[in-house]
């Protein structure tokens, strides 16, 4: 991070812009760009829409290694559990057109057989030569990473080498409520970079160390991020597995995962100030929200109240 931490990046006052050459070097900027695109369904129009949205960001990924990290959770094709393969393919095509070398990687938290799950979720059918560009992050080479100022009880963690060594990690979660942390979005999706081969299924060490703190730690530790959130059909209620479908009809894109997640919370009718991991990651969630330069659809125009479990009713945006 060239001597600058994530919070300084978010709230810093210098001009300039984000991914200088898309590597880990970032220049401080006042604003964080978040784009909200209305997309009612998973259709071919998604390809053009995503290209148009990415063009709004000063991404220089030519010759860079981009890792798309979707959210694969369960073998239930009819349920909105997993990131839709069409969105992942659209991102793959869009980043390739920008000149990037694009890979896809995921390390699910409960189920071991990632490729079988990807097949059940339609990835093989949708993405040509999927197996050749896919890495199971649970079984990848591991790197032990020391956490500089951990918010969790972890001092170090074993992460998938592919996630650590890419030039841009694109978190592609499903927009879902979550029974342990309220909402699971682009930051929580980083749990898939933690090695299941080391920690098992589930990656229970993250629970013992404190889930919100671990989310914040991963956010600060992993290299340059980008987020593309699948909010076309999300999940409400008892997410991230047993909830019900909720059509929000949006794709939310941004350069900073915390800013994207804060925007997604607002779309879902959740108060981002009450999401613990956002507080840990950003410190001042109000400052984070003020730093967001919103483009595309205004959040108010796409707000869709996601049902919350009674335990999480306190998260509701007033």
């Amino acid at each position: 991070m060239s001597g600058i931490n994530r919070r300084e990046f978010l709230t810093g006052s210098a001009g300039g812009l984000l991914l200088a050459g898309c590597g880990r070097r970032k220049t401080v900027r006042r604003e964080t760009l978040v784009s909200v695109a209305r997309r009612p369904d998973y259709t071919q129009e998604l390809y053009g829409e995503l290209r148009r949205v990415l063009a709004e960001f000063p991404l220089d990924v030519r010759g860079k290694r981009v890792l798309l990290k979707p959210n694969l959770v369960e073998f239930e094709p009819g349920s909105p559990i997993n990131t839709h393969p069409l969105l992942v393919h659209a991102a793959l095509e869009a980043f390739r057109e920008l000149g990037a070398e694009v890979m896809i990687g995921e390390g699910p938290g409960h189920r071991r057989n990632t490729l079988d799950m990807a097949e059940a979720a339609g990835y093989f059918e949708t993405i040509p030569r999927f197996e050749e560009i896919f890495t199971d992050l649970n079984l990848d080479r591991v790197a032990e990473v020391r956490l500089a100022h951990p918010q969790s009880r972890l001092q170090s963690i074993y992460l998938a080498q592919s996630a650590m060594s890419c030039d841009l990690l694109v978190s592609m979660p499903k927009m879902k409520t979550h029974h342990w942390v309220g909402a699971t979005l682009s930051m929580k999706n980083l749990f898939g970079t933690v090695s299941g081969g080391v920690y098992g299924w589930p990656k229970n060490i993250l629970h013992w160390a404190g889930i919100p703190g671990c989310i914040a730690d991963l956010y600060k530790t992993l290299p340059a991020h980008f987020a593309i959130v699948d909010g076309i059909v999300g999940m409400q209620g008892n997410g991230p597995i047993q909830g019900t479908p909720k059509r929000a009809g949006v794709v939310v894109v941004g350069t900073d995962l915390a800013a994207v997640d804060a925007s997604c919370c607002q779309i879902m009718g959740i108060d981002p100030h009450r999401i613990e991991y956002l507080k840990l990651a950003a410190g001042d969630v109000g400052g984070l929200i003020r730093s967001i330069h919103q483009i595309g659809e205004p959040v108010e125009s796409v707000r869709t109240r996601f049902d919350l479990l009674p335990e999480w009713s306190g998260l509701r945006q007033s």
């Binding site: 073998f75 409960h110 189920r111 071991r112 057989n113 490729l115 079988d116 059940a120 199971d136 079984l139 990848d140 080479r141 591991v142 790197a143 032990e144 074993y158 029974h179 090695s195 081969g197 080391v198 920690y199 098992g200 299924w201 589930p202 229970n204 060490i205 629970h207 013992w208 008892n238 597995i241 047993q242 479990l309 335990e311």
Partner: protein, 280 residues
């Protein structure tokens, strides 16, 4: 078998996927599957040398040599037994397994659960030290201990096995099988998985209870529609262990996508032919 042999890394270990780094789990399963094959003695020797080199001073094995912690894979290695590993390697591994239990059954956690009104559970095994017990590492550890010959740890082994049985029975899902080990979350019933149900049934070999009978029925229903090779293998092994594998069960439908799943498929086929490497 040929595919397994071709996948062995030059360092003697096996990767999860061909060309990847060597990991302990696929190495142990590959060796378990190859062990009866006399013509492949040299790959086995190289594999065992890799395992010997990977063993940690505390007696356990790390998931990968780069990891500075013994973990759940110790149970998979111990399945190879003292004849393959050598007593000096095997005994510390068994002792390591016996010392482990889920953090939720530590003294402090028990006190905390008592104070908060949460029910106590019997100790099982965790994937990684300092975390909770889950179905797969508990079942694998039980299978490893079941194979341990009489030794100085024997009384403790018997006790741990009894606790392991209780732990598994406590964590069955309401739909009949087991998932990773959380049958309920926030008052919602969670669903069973084929893989975990199969390995739990195998670990409960020789036991009988309404929970086990219900799990066998769930496993029989799942076998024809299982979506993973690993699930098919464990379900076959689990049902076979309880004499509940239907005689008209079709051949496995799914192709293994990892080395450990390929080895498990071989082990499952061997078991159906009467050579069960997990129980002998």
């Amino acid at each position: 078998m040929v595919s397994l042999l071709k996948s062995q890394n030059p360092d003697g270990g096996w990767p999860y996927q061909r060309g990847g780094p060597s990991w302990t789990e696929p190495t142990a399963y590959a060796l378990l599957a190859l062990f009866r094959q006399r013509p492949v003695a040299e790959p086995i020797r190289r594999g065992l040398r890799w395992l010997h080199a990977a063993q940690r001073p505390d007696g356990g094995w790390p998931p990968q040599p780069a990891v500075r912690q013994s973990a759940w894979v110790t149970a998979v290695v111990a399945l190879l037994g003292p004849a393959a590993l050598g007593a000096d390697t095997y005994r510390p591994g068994i002792a390591w397994i016996v010392r482990q239990s889920g953090e939720e059954t530590s003294f402090l956690s028990r006190v905390q659960r008592l104070l908060t009104g949460n029910s106590q559970t019997d100790p099982g095994w965790a994937w990684f030290p300092g975390t909770s017990a889950w179905v797969t590492p508990t079942a694998l550890s039980m299978l490893a201990l079941r194979k341990a010959p009489q030794c100085t740890e024997s009384a403790r082994i018997v006790t741990r096995l009894q606790m392991g049985v209780a732990c598994l029975l406590q964590h069955a899902c309401s739909d009949g099988g087991w998932n990773y080990g959380a049958a309920r979350a926030l008052d919602f019933d969670a669903h069973s998985y084929p893989e975990t149900t199969g390995v739990a049934l195998l670990a409960l070999t020789g036991k009988d209870s309404p929970v086990i009978r219900k799990a066998c029925r769930w496993a029989q229903a799942q076998l024809p529609k299982c979506q993973t090779s690993e699930g098919e293998s464990w379900l076959r092994l689990g049902l076979l262990a309880h004499g509940q594998l239907p005689s008209d069960t079709p051949l496995p439908l799914r192709s293994p996508r990892t080395i450990q799943n390929a080895a498990l498929a071989l082990l499952s086929s061997d078991a159906i032919e009467g050579r069960n490497s997990f129980l002998e």
